[in-house]
Symmetry: D2
Subunit: 355 residues, 4 copies
């Protein structure tokens, strides 16, 4: 069961239909999960801004760097040009190159792209090396292509799946999570969706309840042990007509949602947010038929509800990743427990944060 089904209601805004990034029209998600033998626990998660040829119909986009100890590929071009021209792919730290290679191949081979010679692959990662034999770099190009090609709308599988197969979050098994918010019509009626790959630490709070403290498991709780650094990749989609500047602002607010779960963006964490608008009207054609485009753009004064929405959705997506993940045994016999659901629910009851 997802957090909301358990009675955990984060924030004040309503969710979209699936409470997933795929509530944003056009957005698709595909995942490849690699569980092999005793020591391969990794995978790939691909987020497609729309179902067409993304290179030919780019989407406005931006990146926010929460903590740059990470290998997110493609950032400078997204920032310079204000757009995204490939799927966003998530995987493990040492397979970023593999995923880039696959994204480039995917793009070169799409119909209509026969002559293009430059592709800015956007690939994020977190380090799943506690459970996964990461030094073997077990993800192959085909795994990435499979994730892209299988992407679909509708509900998104969460937990130990795709790029979240081997991740660890607040000392428990993390993974993929998603959530969305849909603004009321008088606030614009737009949808904001978030997908996260959770692999970070801090002092876990769920809906404001001090879960990490109650469980006695949080960073520096035993100062003889260094916390295992980790990362969080966050992907944000919206159908609001935002330009790259306002998408960058939206991305920054997703990081605020991470803060609300007790994340601390530790030195070793690669915390990044990639945000894009999938609105049809703001697509940027690769080849302009005329120099001046006419683009709708939300006036600055109207972006605040979107900020609130993304904070809520990011927080809930992270919590969803924890509830969906299951105890996982991997490399060198390492085992990472799922959050103890019963105990957590009891804690949430103690703090009156579950219905």
């Amino acid at each position: 069961k997802r957090a909301r089904e358990l009675g955990i209601h984060i924030g004040v805004l309503p969710t979209g239909k699936w409470n997933a990034i795929t509530d944003v029209p056009g957005v698709k998600v595909g995942q490849t999960t690699l569980v092999k033998g005793d020591n391969i626990r990794t995978g790939v998660t691909a987020i497609l801004p729309h179902g067409g040829n993304i290179f030919q119909q780019k989407v406005p986009a931006a990146v926010f760097v929460g903590n740059g100890f990470g290998k997110l590929a493609g950032t400078t071009q997204v920032t310079e040009l204000g757009n995204l021209e490939t799927p966003v792919v998530l995987t493990n730290t040492l397979n970023v190159a593999t995923a880039m290679d696959a994204v480039i191949e995917y793009t070169l081979q799409q119909k209509g792209n026969e002559k293009i010679q430059s592709v800015n692959a956007v690939v994020g990662e977190t380090n799943d090396g506690w459970l996964n034999e990461i030094r073997n770099r077990p993800v192959h190009k085909e795994d990435v292509l499979q994730a892209i090609q299988s992407a679909q709308t509708g509900p998104v599988t969460e937990g130990c799946v795709g790029a979240g197969t081997g991740t660890v979050c607040f000392g428990y098994k993390g993974g993929i999570g998603t959530a969305s918010r849909k603004l009321p019509q008088n606030l614009g009626g737009y949808t904001v969706g978030v997908l996260v790959q959770t692999n970070f630490g801090g002092v876990l709070e769920i809906n404001g309840a001090p879960v990490g403290q109650e469980l006695g498991k949080y960073d520096f709780s035993d100062v003889l042990n260094n916390p295992v650094d980790g990362s969080c990749m966050i992907v944000v989609a919206t159908d609001a007509p935002l330009d790259s500047r306002n998408l960058q602002r939206l991305a920054k607010r997703a990081f605020m949602g991470l803060a609300k779960t007790g994340g601390i963006a530790s030195n070793g964490s690669g915390d990044y947010v990639v945000a894009f608008s999938s609105a049809d009207a703001v697509r940027i054609p690769y080849e302009a038929d005329k120099p001046v485009m006419e683009l709708p753009a939300l006036h600055n004064e109207f972006v605040t509800p979107l900020f609130m929405a993304v904070i809520e959705a990011a927080e809930e997506a992270i919590v969803n990743s924890l509830f969906a993940a299951t105890t996982t045994k991997g490399k060198e016999g390492h085992t990472v427990e799922a959050i103890p659901r019963e105990k957590v629910i009891a804690i949430l009851k103690k703090y009156n944060r579950i219905r």
Copy 2:
């Protein structure tokens, strides 16, 4: 009573002696409160990194822009040179120039500065125009000088004082707040202090309890009314030997503390963090006696406990500002209520977030 005295314990780390920014050795705070007639409700708060000549003995510093709808003066030089050469002064939006003028005069007239011709005054602000006749620009140079010259170590007055005299936070009276954390020796033993000028909105949470929702008062709760945008200025001090790069990272984490109070960094909010190290050994002399300095610098691997500390301290400083502020009547008969302490305490009890 401050939050902690009421039984509200935010975070897991211990506070410094005063639970104030002044716990960081050398740091001084001075304030001028201007309450005149029916419509002047404003003031000045000055934070001095150390008691000496700051221009001659600069301190490493950095700025993080949470949301740049604000007039913080001096940012680009702090970023370029990595240091701060004046007190940090906070006031209202339309008196930034007044405060700059005063900081420049203060610096020019300090002994030893007879020949300097350039001063980078760092002045922050939030907009207190709901209670204060801000268009009159009621702060004068003398008010600023008085704040600087009266700065002292020890406890810091919070609430409706100095630059917090006329501010509004989550729909209640905001103001000045402060808090600190002192790391255990095995985590470095450093102190991190925060001072805030709170004047922003969102959905108030105190120690994770949904206070804003319980009180029915939060942004977009009545969508016919736009939320009053506001701002939060945050000043962070530490005695850890951090360079400007790591101070910038520390500053970013203070913004995470703001997120935990339910702040949303709305479009119109000027949310900034200025962070500096007051450690003696990292002072940067105006006139170098030799080209190469030998500077202690905390290795990246050891900054994470400071990150956790500043998140906690920023959250607590904001909460302190709310508990210290009192109902204030100002311009055009506008009244802003203090947070309803009894109700809030009842809510915190309901959510088991007060001892």
Copy 3:
């Protein structure tokens, strides 16, 4: 005579009518020159993006920081919101606060602005303290208002005027300079205008000729003497429909023009570029009548000619400032010579860089 009239043709693109920033439709420039007694040599230069109420009809804008040892006010808000809501005012380093105060007053008092409570004054500066008794802060609010109110279209006075009255450039008298480029119709037909306040050093080159070396006067030519650090403020206007992202790119290219004059952006130099689009169709209303604006935006693929234009115009504007400035005696008997025109022309002939 201006550089071009002397036969110095910089670049390959044609100029606008006045070869001035005022070639960009709507842009106005006003200046106040303060020459008093033996030691006041300073002033104010104001650039208005258009002749209307700028606060009510903001213009897209961006800032590029070449070297941030400077006090440019208003940068973070321009960057965050992507627009400019006041004139850009230039003055001396220690009068930035004075100019901010004046810009705020000007804006508060404009018809239609009776209720506004927040103004982001954009004020740049360079340090004229060699010729000007800068510590006296001789510019007054009235001087700034006069510059704004007297702004007009048409030719712009260059040299020892306004904010350039007391500046020094490459060891010679600097000042205000301006230039423009007008793209051919097949490249868009847009105009780019530049105005500079020159006060920096390096190894002077004029149209590629090594003037500084020939004159034996350049930074570190006598390593016993430190070069006097200085700054360059650059303002760029265009009527091309650029958003703030592309304006930031345009601003960065203006800095490339500075490089071509032999500027080195020394440690102590405050080198900034403020760029805006004055195109009617991209104005951003203070109060939106509807949430979504329809804005024309030049496709990325078509901005390169503008880049070339601004590089040329910035280089020429700097050279113009040198040719227009005259030998000036100021504070403490300091005298700064104008560039030796005859010698320079001879050098340009030697290098075949003058017609």
Copy 4:
């Protein structure tokens, strides 16, 4: 012959022994050139900050983005942590992933790195797709490893070699170039070295002479033809004890050197600078033996001569790349001519810019 041997003296500072990036103590360069059949014209250039284990002994580093239309991998981590932990590898646009993969493998397999699970590979690129069948992605992991493993000190081969094998610059054959400057002792005695991969356009100037105009070949000279966009990767090394903040400033000045060659940083150009300090005393150990390091750091006041040095060296490195490159025929019969040396020398004589 290199530019200087031909009598072209750029700037005022003396060069290092080899006039190459390898004049900076410890720096090594290795290259793999791939010329196969009619259509493969590409390669790899690797720059090693020092001869030891770079991951274990990281070097302070920074990145400046001149124009971010490029795929430079590793930027955010360099910026966040202020250091570089791998060789810097340059190749073609569509083989960045290949090079990352190789750099990761190289690092994982180095002695002492048996347990590391995270590597931030820094890989830059330009697009050689006019001469090279780039869509085939002809670079293989072995080619990259060969470049790294063959790296050495001493003279560096320039022109159509390594990552410069297939590049085009100002419409002529570009390639790899390098240069250095050695400051006099009274300015610190430090060395600054630059290596470039030239593949960009604009209006070529050599030592200030308008070569592009004289040859009638420059961007927009025939406005019916769009200029071929290109890129320039610049790597800067120094033995001055600079921290990442000052290295970022140094990197920005290298971009000024590009401007002096007539480069315009066109929309489609990926212009980046990676700068690092190879000074022994500023190495950052992967595993700190104690939390606080004592680091030498050049005081801001003493960096300006380094700025001047890098501007000169970058300009000269670009010019060297042009003089060293030879006419190349490649993909689809495309031929790119070397700059016409005799004509260029004649032009330089006409403008008195060659001895």
